[in-house]
């Protein structure tokens, strides 16, 4: 059985089979070129990074809720240097915020989400033996790991990590005189991101090539599951936008290290008159957000793809408007490149340019609305099965709506003036991109865990984890909108200065901050349930059947036990689209893609 796969696939040292020699530990678990193992490596690394980033957020949430009060928790993690007597230092507060944002956006939700599921699902759902290039795939993981390690290391250096916010706007990030984190910490940040981008590019190119070239027989583009469509568009976005961030990082590196003036002009800092002249900090913002906005969709689209698949499967219904969904994904992908200026309405950018960005940004609401209504119609008259994955997928639709509608306000430049850079923005993007993507990721992990580890996760613990997380998420971010509407700027170490001029705003902000922090701590503790369930199930979960969710897509036709090459014998042939659930005229409520059309049956 495995020998057939072996013959078809000339990686003699990499296959997995009963009558062949066992792979070495190193080639199987560490320098693996198998897409399934690489996907799991991405997941493990991302889970670890996610824990770190979440912990950082709890640390600064404690400061925000109880400013200036001594906390054992803070001194436990940060020590005397950064939390003398248990009170967080101002600089470190900004360091925590910066690294929290960076890790969450890039390492958890880009590397972790897209890296994990693109790797696992693209070959399996397309009917391919592996990625187009196993070696490049391995390389992309190792770049990701190295960049993660550098980013983590930067937390431990004496001058502290990067502190200029995850957007690292110069001149603050360019001038070590301006704050301590802009020294070595920022250099490490830029180095780490440069490596991360290289890894992400290699990975994305690999995904694109695989999707275009390695689809099995009968798998036309319009028979691909929506997951693959989103991974495909995500990879294209990454390839087109990440190099721009790399250029921004390199130019910033040069401003810092060789004395160029790309982003610096007419500056006096720390009593020192710099000779830099003619650069523009706004140029950096353009370069940053040219990545930064597509990045939002790089994070979000895979989550939407995963949830499309999960909602269809667990509603026992085809996803409504498959072609409209593809159209929306492509429209969102395209539009995401021409909206970056909505982050810059009040930076001094020409107001006319602002108007153009208002127009393009609000256009995105249309394909997004189409997606939401299609999800709703998919649920309508379905036969819903609430696995933890399904719950998370539905929660994703909820947060996508809740965060999406506040985006309408922020995209309107006239209104953005009043609330730009307040907690309203923080609440908006945490819900629409943070929560949605995290929910999508959890949905994906619960749904494809049997495929990844050959075992089942515990359902009830999944339920507990879900409800704590959902309640925690809304408990944190609903009140946060109101903090923002009270005019509280983000990245403030302490909002108690509001007490100097506006007692009522001050009381409101402080009350809400306590509520938010309590919910944040509850939600963070809830993740322990997940971690326990996850690691426990890897080793001791009950053995998974081949197709636990009665799903139609190809990955569930592979054997439970992983093997190199995915399918024993020939690759499957695809005869139909991936959403034949509860099709009239069929006895079972799902028809796998490999089943040929019956006589007189129409495709859909």
């Amino acid at each position: 059985m495995a020998s057939v796969a072996h013959d078809e696939h000339n990686h003699a040292d990499m296959h997995h089979g009963d009558h062949h020699h066992e792979e070495g530990f190193v080639s199987k678990y560490i320098f693996s070129q198998d897409h399934k193992m690489i996907g799991k490596q991405f997941l493990m690394t991302a889970v670890f990074m996610g824990i770190v980033a979440m912990l950082l957020s709890v640390l600064f949430r404690i400061q925000l809720a109880w400013p200036g009060e001594s906390s054992d928790f803070l001194s436990f993690f940060l020590g005397e240097q950064w939390a003398p007597n248990g009170v967080l230092k101002e600089d470190m507060y900004l360091g925590l915020v910066t690294i929290h944002g960076t890790i969450m956006v890039f390492f958890l939700l880009t590397g972790g989400l897209s890296g994990t599921f693109s790797n696992i699902l693209i070959p399996l759902q397309l009917g391919a033996r592996d990625m187009a290039s196993g070696f490049l795939n391995m390389l992309s993981y190792w770049f990701f790991l190295i960049s993660s390690l550098i980013m983590l290391y930067s937390l431990f250096i004496s001058t502290g990590p990067a502190m200029a916010g995850w957007t690292i706007y110069p001149p603050l990030s360019a001038l070590p005189q301006a704050m301590s984190g802009s020294g070595t910490g920022m250099t490490l940040w830029l180095l780490s991101m440069a490596i991360f981008i290289a890894g992400s590019l290699i990975g994305s190119l690999n995904y694109i090539v695989t999707v275009i070239n390695l689809r099995t027989q009968g798998m036309t583009m319009t028979r691909m599951p929506l997951t693959i469509w989103t991974f495909f568009v995500t990879a294209i976005l990454g390839v087109l936008s990440f190099p721009v961030l790399l250029s921004a990082a390199l130019l910033l590196m040069m401003d810092r290290l060789v004395g160029t003036s790309f982003f610096l002009s007419d500056i006096i800092v720390g009593g020192e008159m710099l000779a830099n002249h003619g650069g523009s900090p706004i140029l950096f913002q353009h370069l940053f957000w040219f990545l930064g906005h597509p990045e939002v969709y790089i994070v979000l689209l895979p989550a939407l793809g995963l949830s499309s698949e999960i909602i269809a499967t667990n509603s026992r219904k085809p996803i409504f408007g498959y072609k409209a969904m593809i159209g929306s994904i492509l429209a969102i992908g395209f539009l995401s490149f021409i909206v970056w200026g909505h982050h810059m309405f009040i930076t001094g950018m020409n107001p006319f340019l602002g108007s153009v960005f208002v127009f393009t940004t609000l256009l995105i609401a249309i394909p997004s609305a189409v997606k939401v209504f299609n999800y709703l119609t998919t649920l309508w008259r379905g036969s819903l099965i609430f696995t933890p994955a399904m719950l998370y997928a539905i929660a994703l639709v909820s947060t996508f709506i809740t965060g999406g509608v506040t985006g309408i306000i922020l995209a309107d430049s006239a209104l953005d003036i009043a609330i730009h850079d307040t907690y309203f923005v923080v609440a908006h993007f945490h819900i629409v991109m943070g929560m949605s993507a995290v929910f999508g990721m959890f949905a994906g992990v619960y749904h494809w865990f049997p495929k990844m580890y050959g075992r089942m996760m515990n359902m009830r613990l999944g339920y507990v984890h879900f409800w704590i997380t959902l309640v925690g998420a809304y408990g944190v971010f609903f009140p946060m909108h109101f903090v923002g509407l009270a005019g509280a700027p983000r990245r403030y170490y302490d909002s108690s200065s509001f007490g100097d001029f506006n007692e009522s705003s001050y009381n409101m902000i402080m009350d809400l901050n306590v509520i938010i922090t309590i919910f944040a701590i509850i939600a963070a503790l809830g993740q322990l349930v997940f971690l326990f369930n996850f690691f426990y199930s890897i080793f001791r979960g009950p053995k998974a059947p081949q197709n636990p969710w009665n799903s139609t897509t190809l990955e569930w036709t592979t054997p439970v036990e992983h093997m190199h090459g995915n399918w024993p014998g020939e690759l499957p042939t695809v005869h139909r689209w991936p959403y034949d659930y509860s099709k009239p005229g069929s006895d079972v409520d799902f028809i796998p893609q490999t089943v040929p059309l019956a006589d007189g049956e129409e495709e859909h």
Partner: protein, 418 residues
């Protein structure tokens, strides 16, 4: 330290307790021979109900927050522009709240209603072009309305301010604000960062300030001559790094000096007066009610953002360029205090772009006075012009010529930059 230990122990014990619970559950489910992956009908219906309950709590929570805190904890808008912004914001909130309640209701209600029922098959419904067309067009129309109204406001907010607007510059640095009123001529004097000295913090351009800067650059305590003295001193031995640092510093200062001489050559004395009559004001910004203002923003070091929450105005301060915004206050501080029912209330200017460790402390109180008391204040203040306050006596005409230095590279005529 004991606390830390207790926390650690609690975490560990909690994890163990949890794992034991799961073991028990695991064993019991093995006894029942339940497939782990099959959702029992009981669980399924429970989840469906919880979905509906969650929705109710979600809606109630939001409504509670809105009732308790309103959509803004800031009070009414205190500027003409802000009133319009608030109107538009309210309209947008109505629209998005309607969308929010409708779609979230459908989502959770469908989840509740269409939960799997034994014997009921899902309805095969892959697409419907008419429906899809409807929910493409309806959002498009709503967006069109939002875009048109938004851009109308935006164009008004960003239009040039009229000639009746008083010009005020807000100068930012880590971590405070300085205001500069344009003075009697309502023209802000020009500035160049190279002219920054102790008594010219805002780097205004006048013939005097140029000369002063050249003198400081040459003869100041860490000026070019001082550095050259250190470098040429045969009695001291410098290590490589401090030697390099000094040389870098020297070349930078020599370059700046050339530019200063260039500036001196191009400066017209006629412009002096627009700077001399400017009034520099620290700590508190005083404005007059119903008076249009145009604010010019400038930064000395890093990005800052001038955020006037109560006036719904905001603009970034960008080093190397001047940015602008405008608004007309319509409520005095006294009136606003009554409206807010808070005798200690004050308007404020906050920094809203991360600018360093003490970012959160960077603010300036704004006081809006009625016309009478503003005029009174201004009358007093207008005596403290830039010239009167910082350059009262005629500046000694120190001989600032290239002859004072031995370095030929500093000749004023060299137009290195051209």
């Amino acid at each position: 330290m004991e606390n830390k230990l207790i926390i650690l122990i609690a975490v560990i014990l909690g994890t163990i307790a949890l794992s034991q619970l799961v073991r028990v559950y695991e064993l019991s489910s093995k006894l029942r021979k339940n497939g782990e992956y099959e959702v029992s009908n009981r669980d399924n219906v429970l989840m469906a109900r919880l979905m509906l309950i969650f929705m109710i709590f979600q809606f109630l929570g939001l409504i509670y927050l809105m009732i308790k805190y309103g959509w803004t904890g800031l009070g009414v808008a205190a500027s003409n522009e802000g009133v319009e912004t608030d109107w538009l914001l309210n309209l947008n909130f109505v629209i998005i709240l309607a969308i929010f309640f409708l779609t979230n209701f459908l989502l959770f209600y469908f989840s509740f209603k269409y939960v799997r029922k034994p014997g009921v098959k899902a309805y095969y419904y892959p697409h419907n072009n008419k429906l899809e067309l409807i929910w493409t067009i309806v959002p498009a129309v709503v967006m069109a309305v939002i875009i048109i109204l938004g851009l109308k406001s935006w164009n008004k907010l960003t239009a040039m301010s009229g000639s009746d607007a008083i010009r005020i510059e807000l100068f930012s640095k880590q971590f405070d604000w300085t205001a500069r009123y344009a003075g009697a001529d309502n023209v802000l004097g020009r500035h160049d960062y190279k002219l920054t000295t102790d008594n010219n913090e805002l780097a205004l351009i006048t013939s005097n300030t140029i000369d002063t800067s050249i003198r400081v650059m040459l003869q100041g305590p860490s000026g070019i001559e001082a550095i050259q003295r250190i470098l040429n001193n045969r009695d001291t031995v410098l290590n490589d790094s401090s030697m390099n640092a000094l040389r870098t510093d020297l070349s930078r200062k020599e370059r700046l000096l050339r530019l200063l001489f260039q500036m001196k050559g191009q400066h017209s004395k006629a412009l002096d007066n627009s700077a001399w009559d400017d009034i520099i004001q620290k700590d508190t910004l005083y404005l007059c009610v119903n008076q249009p203002y145009e604010f010019n923003f400038r930064s000395k070091d890093v990005l800052h953002s001038a955020y006037f929450p109560h006036f719904r105005a905001q603009m970034n301060n960008v080093p190397g360029m001047t940015t602008r915004t405008k608004f007309t206050p319509i409520l005095t501080t006294e009136q606003m205090r009554k409206k807010m029912n808070d005798p200690k209330f004050n308007f404020v200017l906050l920094c809203n772009k991360i600018c360093g460790g003490a970012h959160y402390k960077m603010k300036m109180i704004v006081v809006v006075k009625d016309k009478k008391s503003y005029d009174l204040w201004m009358k007093q203040k207008s005596k403290e012009t830039f010239k009167a306050k910082y350059f009262p006596a005629p500046v000694s005409k120190a001989p600032v010529t290239p002859a004072t230095t031995s370095n030929a590279a500093m000749a004023p005529a060299t137009n290195v930059n051209k």
